[in-house]
């Protein structure tokens, strides 16, 4: 186990705005949402915003539509005097979890003391669900756009269909994922979806990209979540019980990087969530196994990808994700409780940062749906083109 980060960095503050349905955060600005989340995170940590001296972004610093609060504007808005680090992981939501690892790298290098990882999202008319079709064509996308594949969730549906064909995976498995998330969200005040979801309602819901229906797709949300990390040493003197970073991995296999475009991957990668290499490295770095994980915060933009991540991270053998999920394994009383906050599917979608927030609450012991005695949490970034990412946090 070679991992200089191991327990050297901790999350000490988390803050968020309310979650809004797409467009309903107006007339607040994106900087206003970001600022509110950062102020709340600083208060949670018991530090002044003026102590913040680093930013570790992901998703190119924004939501894929160039509508974002860049570091300089946040510094202006909040009066942050000077920083020693600002960087962003490339591509999209796949880097969400590893934005904590990026913060950790800055802290370990001595570049910054209090580093913010952040997502502020306002979709308005820029729906992420159809971003592939809406983007101006590039030479690469020109081999996909003329076919009318307009959204990431439709590319993932093509993979889900193949998984069903190859392993006999049933829609009942996707339904179980959607219903479990809804059950978790129903009791959480922050959730946007609190109405019960039944199997009958799932099965009769309208198809979006058959075989996936309305409930297989995440919510379209506005909102912001900010997370503050610092050194383990400084964390001990702050207000909250530290949540330690045990390991962080981002990257992925070359062939996975085509997942939202022309695909053409080898079949084992095609029917995965692209996290096999991430999982292997993360377990190597931390000396842990899937059996050690108490709660999994898996990026749930599309329900089948939760199942495929369970396979990638070794909670069940590859190909057996369907029956595993259908057995009730991801419920609160199952062998691996998944997304007790209700996730992107039912609580709200802020490109993965709600999962980091929930991991922190679980490890502090303050979660609404608390996994009893949770000591280790896995958080993943979205199965999206490279990077994909995963971190393990511990109390």
């Amino acid at each position: 186990m070679s991992n200089p980060l191991y327990r050297k960095v901790a999350i000490v503050g988390v803050g968020a705005t309310p979650y809004y349905r797409r467009g309903e955060s107006q007339p607040q600005t994106i900087t206003e949402l970001a600022g509110k989340a950062i102020l709340a995170a600083a208060q949670d940590a018991g530090i002044s915003v003026k102590d913040i001296d680093g930013f570790a972004h992901y998703s190119g610093g924004g939501s894929g539509h160039n509508n974002f609060a860049d570091t300089n504007l946040i510094m202006e808005a909040l009066g942050i005097p000077e920083i020693g680090f600002t960087a962003t992981l490339t591509m999209g939501g796949g880097g969400s979890a590893a934005s904590i690892g990026l913060a950790g790298a800055a802290i370990l290098a001595g570049d910054a003391k209090y580093v913010v990882s952040l997502m502020a999202l306002q979709q308005g008319n820029n729906r992420l669900g159809v971003v592939l079709g809406a983007k101006p064509p590039t030479p690469e996308s020109s081999f996909v756009q003329p076919a009318g594949m307009v959204g990431p969730g439709h590319a993932m549906a093509i993979m889900a269909r193949r998984h069903m064909h190859k392993y006999g995976t049933r829609r009942e498995a996707f339904a179980e994922i959607a219903i479990t998330h809804r059950n978790h969200a129903m009791v959480r005040p922050t959730s946007l979806q609190k109405k019960p979801l039944t199997l009958e309602a799932y099965m009769s819901a309208r198809m979006i990209a058959e075989p996936l229906c309305l409930y297989d797709y995440c919510l379209e949300t506005d909102g912001a979540v900010a997370v503050i990390s610092t050194s383990a040493e400084r964390a001990r003197d702050l207000r909250q019980k530290p949540v330690y970073l045990l390991g962080s991995v981002h990257g992925g296999r070359r062939e996975w990087g085509r997942s939202f475009s022309w695909m053409n991957m080898p079949d084992d990668i095609f029917t995965s969530a692209g996290n096999l290499s991430i999982a292997r490295l993360l377990y190597e770095k931390t000396g842990l196994t899937p059996q050690n994980i108490d709660v999994a915060l898996l990026y749930d933009h599309f329900s089948p990808l939760v199942m495929m991540q369970l396979e990638d991270y070794g909670f069940c053998p590859v190909g057996e994700g369907g029956p595993f999920v259908e057995s009730g394994a991801i419920r609160m009383n199952g062998s691996i409780p998944v997304n007790p906050h209700g996730g992107n599917l039912s609580e709200g979608y802020v490109i993965g940062m709600t999962h980091v927030r929930e991991a922190v609450e679980q490890l502090r012991g303050t979660a609404v749906n608390q996994v009893k005695g949770a000591g280790l949490a896995l958080v993943t970034g979205g199965p999206a083109p490279i990077p994909v990412s995963g971190i393990i946090l511990g109390s």
Partner: protein, 135 residues
């Protein structure tokens, strides 16, 4: 299937690919160094890093690797539903994203043989597939 509405491609150096489609011929980039056939076109051969290539005509024959059906239009350029998007693997190896036209919802399954067909749009020719084996 809508006509003359598909998004126009952006060209870099692969004009020959689109020119071949306009002649209703599918050609892919083949490395002159090692013979590797790649798609989409790229600057280098990822196997031997040669920048030398030629355009190799393909049989146009393949099979469906996976397929989805849009039941609701999410893009004004594709108003008619249901329409499908499929990953088709060519006999020569590479797989491409396209549509399998001429079959109704429910009539297509993974493994079905398909062959290339073409849709002349306003500014370019799109590569499509239809159910069936080599002509």
């Amino acid at each position: 299937m809508p006509e003359r509405t598909r998004p126009k491609p952006k060209n870099r150096f692969e004009q020959a690919y689109w020119d071949a489609l306009a002649r209703h011929q599918l050609s892919l980039q083949r490395c002159k160094g090692c013979g590797f056939v790649r798609h989409p076109p790229g600057e280098f051969c990822p196997e031997c890093w040669s920048g030398e290539f030629e355009w190799q005509p393909m049989s146009g024959v393949g099979s469906i690797v996976s397929i989805i059906w849009y039941m609701k239009s999410l893009d004004a350029r594709f108003p008619e539903v249901p329409y499908n998007v499929a990953l088709v693997r060519l006999a020569e190896g590479p797989a491409l994203i396209s549509n399998v036209v001429g079959s109704a919802f429910g009539e297509l399954k993974i493994g079905d043989p398909v062959r290339a067909c073409y849709s002349d749009e306003m500014d370019f020719t799109a590569l499509l597939f239809e159910r069936g084996s080599a002509r």
